[in-house]
């Protein structure tokens, strides 16, 4: 049976399209890879009610009642005691570096004063730079303590369980006391915008040469791969600088984001981060065969960067495996730097770890790009 003419022509184009799509391996892979990645990330990794947030405890009173309270915090699953500290100055540094999200302090004589009905204080210092990460845990603190003490305050201590709680929880939401979301998002946007634009632009750098046939000409002239790479990357370092200035100006004048730390530390961080993204983009362009594929690789990289870096969802609230992936993304480390400098006033030494991670990433990307760059047409 012969198809009617329009159907036959639709069929012809359909078959041709199918053949072409099948032959473009990367596109084909992306069509299945991206939905699966979205399913996994949105389904498992993202948690808007983050639990098991790393917490340091600073306890100067070691009584059964205090132990019960601490146990209550731990069983609530919001707080995960990762270390004990005895020095209050250390707790400040822990929060600054982002090692912990909370420091819970119970002062000496807490139990004695509780029994006397003097309403002693429990201090929770919180890293509130990301309000979404800390707010739920803080909101539950009162309930956690009162539930923990319900069994203790019976019999002889029954007088304490009357209407008002016999203790007071004092919360110090450090770095962003008003819990303004923009404080967390706008500095983060700097990293997101740099990631998207720079990886994509350099991703197209070599593929454009290959697609237009100019690569053969470039290879035939006396220029070595590293020279090509630096030459291609340099203009975009400038573009990254302009983007940074625009975003920082908007952060200051439009969103009134505080800038507590030192500018030069941020400049160092931004520079390494820009280089990391550019060399990654260049690596992509040595893998992709067409500009279209380079674009797809960029999105394949951008999606986890957006979701697993701590930009949109609290990093510490993600499951362990997602945090490991997140640690491999440059944006994760840059967010620690930019939020650290702007909101927490972190200094160069406080940010040594993320700066080191970014440098390592850049180095690896350059090495891979150089290994993949073809000197010949083979």
């Amino acid at each position: 049976m012969r198809l009617p003419a329009p159907l036959a022509r639709i069929w012809a184009i359909f078959m041709k399209e199918l053949t072409q799509v099948r032959r473009d391996r990367i596109t084909f892979g992306m069509m299945f890879g991206i939905p699966i990645m979205q399913l996994l990330l949105f389904g498992f990794a993202i948690n808007t009610n983050p639990k098991n947030l790393p917490t340091a405890v600073h306890v100067e009173d070691n009584s059964p009642i205090v132990r019960t309270i601490l146990q209550g915090f731990e069983t609530s699953e919001y707080y995960d005691f990762v270390l004990k500290t005895s020095d209050p100055r250390e707790s400040a540094a822990l929060l600054m570096r982002g090692d912990v999200a909370f420091v819970i302090s119970i002062p000496a004589g807490f139990t004695k004063r509780l029994v006397r009905g003097e309403h002693p204080q429990i201090l929770i210092e919180a890293d509130a730079s990301d309000p979404a990460a800390s707010s739920n845990a803080i909101a539950h603190a009162n309930m956690i303590v009162s539930r923990a003490l319900r069994h203790e305050l019976k019999g002889a201590l029954g007088y304490l369980s009357a209407d008002a709680p016999p203790y007071e929880i004092v919360v110090h939401p450090a770095y962003n006391p008003e819990g303004i979301t923009q404080y967390n998002i706008v500095p983060g946007l700097l990293g997101v915008i740099l990631t998207l634009t720079l990886v994509m632009i350099t991703g197209m750098a070599m593929t454009r040469e290959a697609e237009q046939g100019t690569l053969e000409n470039l290879l035939a002239m006396p220029v070595c791969p590293l020279e090509v790479m630096f030459g291609k990357i340099l203009p975009y370092v400038g573009i990254g600088a302009v983007q940074t200035i625009v975003i920082l100006a908007a952060a200051k004048y439009m969103f009134h984001i505080p800038f507590v730390g030192e500018l030069w530390v941020l400049i160092v961080g931004v520079t390494i981060f820009v280089l990391a993204n550019l060399s990654l983009g260049f690596t992509f362009s040595t893998i992709a065969k067409t500009q279209m594929q380079a674009m797809q690789l960029t999105f394949f990289f951008f999606l986890p960067s957006l979701l697993l870096s701590g930009f949109m969802f609290p990093f510490k609230g993600m499951p362990h495996w997602a945090q490991i992936i997140g640690e491999c993304l440059p944006l994760t480390h840059f967010l620690r730097i930019v939020r650290g400098v702007m909101l927490k006033g972190a200094g160069f030494m406080d940010l040594a770890a993320p700066l080191r991670a970014l440098s390592l990433f850049t180095l690896l990307a350059v090495v891979v790009a150089m290994l993949r760059y073809k000197r010949t047409l083979d």
């Binding site: 046939g213 100019t214 053969e216 002239m221 006396p222």
Partner: protein, 309 residues
């Protein structure tokens, strides 16, 4: 220093399972103009790319301008001008910007002056600010030739430089090649055009990745051993199919308004012609042309085995 501009032996290049170039040896003296001929897919482009370091040979060795083709690709590139088959300059740069870019890569002194002179020689001064992609085919080729010769290379490799270019532009292009050659440049040019091949000092004919024959135009024709008869007249249009299948006829084909019938056995060819002889066709024996020789060579070498563009 070697007397040869190109001195390569037994070059082999495989792409996967296919052998694109299969044991090619070329000894090309300095200052010569050599033509590189052969059907599509015979390995001309691949050979040229191996000579200038764009492809690594699987087997074989040799030198180009005295530099090892396997180890000293950078030095070869610095002293060679390679014009690709497909226009490979930057269409989104202007003519001037393309020339300046190339000049900077070769670290040419007095760049501005050199570019001005080049534009002048090309007759492109008026259009120097046009994007290269806006040029017609002939002008693109002239721009490419200017760009690859600006750094005064010792060796010029031209890969089908005149494909798709009109006859007038082709003629001018070849005048340029001869001008460059008389200035001391060594030129290896691949082509499909017989008139271009006849302008070369020496021809290398490649088929299926092997050199089938090489030498002077005259020698190649003699070596083919062909005997060619030419027919003219109104009646010849019907004769081709009849003659093609006759014993002893290696090939029969039209050359303009004439029909050429060639073979190596005189008696068989004369017999074949006798059977189709009619009043409105005039037959005479002629000296085979280069094209007759190549058609015969191609037919003897077999089919196209092209595996890359």
């Amino acid at each position: 220093m070697s007397d040869f501009a190109i001195d390569v032996r037994n070059l082999v290049k495989r792409f996967g399972k296919k052998t694109a170039v299969d044991g090619v040896s070329i000894q090309m003296p300095r200052g010569a103009v050599w033509g590189f001929l052969g059907p599509n897919g015979s390995g001309k482009t691949t050979t040229i790319r191996m000579i200038c370091g764009l492809l690594k040979a699987n087997e074989g060795e040799g030198t180009c301008l005295g530099f090892d083709i396997a180890k000293e690709a950078d030095k070869i590139k610095a002293n060679t001008g390679y014009m690709t088959q497909k226009f490979s300059f930057w269409g989104d740069l202007t003519i001037r910007e393309n020339l300046e870019f190339v000049g900077r890569l070769y670290r040419m002194p007095n760049l501005k002056q050199v570019v001005n002179e080049t534009l002048d020689t090309l007759g492109l001064t008026d259009r120097q600010h046009q994007l290269a992609q806006a040029l017609s085919g002939g002008w693109k080729q002239r721009l490419a030739l200017a760009a690859v010769t600006m750094h005064d290379p010792k060796l010029l490799l031209l890969d089908e430089p005149t494909a798709g270019v009109d006859p007038q532009a082709r003629r001018e292009f070849w005048d340029q090649i001869h001008r460059l050659s008389s200035a001391g440049m060594t030129v290896l040019v691949s082509t499909h055009y017989m008139d271009e091949a006849e302008r070369c000092d020496h021809i290398v004919y490649l088929a299926n990745g092997k050199i089938l024959t090489q030498g002077l135009v005259k020698d190649i024709i003699d070596d083919s051993g062909l005997i060619t008869f030419r027919a003219e007249g109104e009646g010849i249009r019907r004769l081709l199919n009849m003659l093609s299948d006759m014993p002893g006829v290696e090939h029969a084909s039209y050359f303009g308004s004439a029909l050429h019938v060639s073979g190596t056995d005189r008696a068989l060819i004369e017999a074949a012609i006798q059977t189709v002889k009619s009043e409105n066709a005039v037959w005479e024996e002629v000296r085979p042309t280069l094209e007759d020789a190549f058609i015969a060579l191609m037919a003897r070498a077999g089919s196209d085995r092209r595996i890359h563009a």
